[in-house]
Amino acid sequence: MIWELDLVILSLVVVAAVGAIAIKDLLGSAILFGAYSFMMCLLWAIMGAVDVAFTEASVGAGVSTVFFVAAVFRTTRRSKD
């Protein structure tokens, strides 16, 4: 466990989360959410939770991003807020 790395990635996670909420384009929001999930996966690998990191890498960064992109493709990219 390297706590310096932990601090840097935790800060990046907050930036990605705020970006995913604030951006006006829903496809961009989906992609930023994928980046957020991937950084969470790195964080859990640092904390020694290898199984959780593996699950997050395949589920959070992989499949749920695909679900978001598919849903945005079937609805609209526009968002007012």
Binding site: M1, V50, D51, T55, G62, V63, V66, F67, V69, F73
Partner: protein, 276 residues
Amino acid sequence: MRTLGILVAALTCALLFYAMGDFPPWADPGSAAHTHVSPRYIEKTMEETSVPNAVTAVLADYRGFDTMFETTVIFAAGVVCFFILRLPKKEGPIFRRYRHTLTGMTIRVKCTRKIPPVLEEFEMIDNLWAPHDLIIKTSCRILVPFLQLFGLYVIAHGHHSPGGGFQGGVILGASMILLAISHDLRTALARMGEKVHALLCPIGVLIYAGTGALCLVLGRDFLDYGALAGILHVDPVTARSHGILIVEIGVGLAVMATMIWIYNNISSRGEYDEGL
């Protein structure tokens, strides 16, 4: 609504910051979470189940009942997606596009919602978005079998390394989703149809619950895999390890089928004709 949101968020934030002082310092070995239940799991898992990966042993054996109902929740989510998107009847004719493979001409046909059979000279293409990229198609087609092999490895090797039914099932499902994205939804459905993944999903849950029921029939507790020793001709400790593997296969099947099911329903809006 905005002010209410900020107010509620600020209130929650203040309460949680107030409570934060009571938390033990991060990564403190002496905190309450590390001193009560988990030492027993770590010290006894090798002796009782002969599985080195403590997470897999706790997931499928000590807390097997919990995991069984998590699998049921995933199955229920797949069924709910089916009911929300697929079941409502859609009205009216729609237009489909076909490409004549010899001349490259594209025609637009008015037809019913039922997907017509595959024709020799005409190739059906998507209405919304029909890219034809040879490089992406070929590289993804080469990648898919290796992905599936890796998924099987992750399920089977979950005892000794990070992995298990959930991760392997998601990887197997992702390989079919990759096929659907790189080609089109019809290609993926020809490999694995709607009936197949709708059946595999309850079969996975049934394997899990059936293993538990088998232990019950053999005279032990529900999901006590030691009872399988007589059938598998091994000692009870190894039987627990094998029981965990059987259960992980059930979880893998259910998770794989559900991921494909949800993706197909979402990407085609429940019509199963053209996807992402």
